[in-house]
Symmetry: C2
Subunit: 405 residues, 2 copies
């Protein structure tokens, strides 16, 4: 509240363009002081989704079956697939595990493109279940060039290749379309962790030759955490049927054709169904367009603040902006000062802990969230003696945000 | 709405005692027509819990760690344990699987007390992961006598014994305290599926010698589905450390000491924390007292309607009332007519499909939910030519409900 007032007092022209300061989420009628989540997930959930979640409904009723059917139909559009999308009650990691225990048998060969924490996690899960894993490890901050993948696949036959679409630990994205065509040429299955990308970055599972795509509810899909979503091609379903891995809760055979083997995430699915309505009403092209604009606004404003991006510019993801912490600045203090101002951003993971900060800009966003984030980041930096041009950064962000639809 | 009005017109004295007709959940200001869920789960969620769930919060913040800490502290009271309670993002079946893959190694011996669908499910999960399972199968509708368990344990050494506290497929409950002391005398671990019982039936994990108790959010704990809750004794934690089962998402070692290895069910945990406040404010003894009264009211009213209970009376659970479908009555039609009147009850599972109906009376309840259920059940029966005494049943229910605290 204080923060927004001080922005307004200092820069009253920020109410111009299509930028409207909106207190709804940060003040909510004076009862809650909800923080805004500018992380690569969980992201902000709109009030409409919370309202949809707040219904008592039983899963063994026709009305819930209709919700499942509707949500699946809409998810197919967002995944870009003709195939059904399975909704599991678990976090994204549960979804990754579900893909491993359903596609492989112990001893199968898998090639993991490991660009960071989530690539490494997929290799770890697969090894835990006895899969033979080879890894292409990129430097952190790099994506993978298609020719490297091609070389690997020329040398050895794999049952499947795994890639992360948007690797949130480092801020990069991979060119799934190009990788998919190489994997297809070599006859392997293509498994894509699209957890943070679906609903934010253009995705077309069928056209990109993706056999198994995994998403989560708490990213671009504007819901709280709790659902992992899996879209499988016919070839992937064949693999599921022939897999010899032990599995029970995550056994996808039981979920086929929208079956409900165990109590599903009723409230979350009601919320997801509503969130999908909102995305499709806006139009997916507009959603991706705006995600790009939000990303540009943050990246160019942070540039003016004097911060450098961590990843190689050729691979920068629009899902988040990963930035080096300037020398002399304490990352933990920075983030806690931003939190006091109502803005949550993420720190580095694994070996990047303390070295980078990560600003997510996906899910439910408003222009003032971006401005608030830039203002709060610049102010927190300056509190530590760093001299950033907050006014200039806000002006730049505002200019870029003018293109929001 | 129509239904409640017609009850009022016919039996205006139902507003006496402590019975207050409350339109909040069934009408909600004219926007939603929420059904009441009179099933053994998911159960009705109070507005306060939905409101608590409707907050944007990130799991890597001090404020969320405090919520986790608070919820754990309160859960220990409800579980009756000094040990921490792990919160997994999954349905109850995921919680059962987590117990299997953490306690056992392939080849270990397990004795399953199988009284219905959930006992059988535990045996199925365990076999899927290579555990050697012996089963004591009771007739459906029966619980287990302690002496039978004693005989089994005298004859063979097991690593663990599994029992269901309240078996919702048949409507029975087992005497966990008695069973626990026998298991302890034989040195085995005692694993209890308390999914539908926790928050409804008195439970005291430590005193009952339960080494691993599993609960779910969507039953007595008044939340939507999505959290499975596991309380482990020190001996159970030792087993977790020595288990050689492959596991990743459900690896309890990673969750110990309230650690958050993967994105947790933030919204659900916020809701659970609120629901626990409500239960503890009411007082657990009052909660269990009322659960008993609700159960008596339904059972005696159904008796007057002319329906017979399915389970052996010695083992009847207070969680639900399982009733034979009278001959000449179509169970599916009956339930769909009740749904049209805004009341959801459950049918039979497995071999009991079409033969029994199940009325759950746990979670968030009001006296008028019980009256509405009895009225709606009696009316639906009579529509099929059955001659039930609806007025008498309502009068009986009202009398019993007078004892609600």
């Amino acid at each position: 509240m204080m923060l927004i007032l001080s922005i307004l007092l200092t820069y009253p022209h920020f109410l111009s363009y299509k930028v409207h300061i909106n207190f709804q989420n940060s003040f909510m009628g004076g009862i809650f002081m909800n923080k805004i989540l500018m992380t690569p997930g969980p992201t902000n959930v709109p009030e409409e989704v919370f309202a949809a979640m707040s219904q008592n409904m039983h899963h063994r009723t026709d009305e819930f079956l209709k919700v499942m059917y509707d949500a699946d139909k809409k998810l197919r559009k967002v995944f870009g697939t003709q195939n059904e999308v399975v909704m599991l009650l678990s976090s994204g990691t549960g979804g990754l595990e579900a893909s491993v225990v359903n596609i492989f048998s112990p001893g199968d060969d898998l090639l993991v493109i490991n660009c960071g924490v989530f690539g490494r996690r997929y290799a770890d899960i697969s090894r835990e279940y006895g899969v033979n894993v080879d890894e292409i490890k990129t430097e952190w901050g790099q994506g993978i060039g298609p020719e490297i993948l091609n070389d690997y696949l020329d040398k050895k036959k794999y049952k499947a290749v795994y890639a992360t679409y948007s690797e949130t630990s480092t801020g990069i994205k991979n060119d799934i379309k190009k990788l998919g065509s190489i994997v297809k040429n070599h006859g392997a299955l293509f498994i894509v962790d699209a957890v943070s990308a679906i609903g934010s970055l253009k995705f077309d599972a069928d056209k990109y030759n993706v056999d198994l795509a995994i998403a989560g509810s708490q990213k671009g899909l504007m819901c709280p955490p709790g659902l992992s979503l899996l879209a499988l091609s016919d070839r992937a379903w064949d693999a599921v049927l022939s897999s010899k891995m032990p599995r029970f809760y995550f056994d996808l055979r039981k979920y086929k054709n929208s079956s409900i083997p165990y109590t599903p995430g009723v409230s979350l699915i009601l919320g997801l169904n509503k969130a999908l309505d909102m995305l499709l009403k806006k139009g997916l092209d507009n959603v991706y367009h705006d995600a790009d604009i939000y990303s540009r606004a943050v990246k160019s404003a942070c540039n003016i603040l004097g911060l450098s991006e961590f990843p190689d510019k050729r691979y920068c993801s629009e899902v988040l902006t990963a930035l080096w912490v300037p020398s002399g600045v304490d990352d933990k203090l920075l983030r806690s000062q931003m939190q006091e101002n109502g803005v949550v951003i993420a720190g580095g993971q694994g070996r990047l802990k303390g070295k980078i900060i990560r600003i997510g800009h996906i899910g439910y966003l408003k222009c003032d969230y971006i401005l608030k984030t830039i203002y709060s980041l610049g102010s927190a930096l300056n509190k530590q003696g760093y001299k950033s041009d907050v006014k200039g950064a806000l002006g730049e962000a505002e200019t870029v945000l003018g293109a929001i639809k």
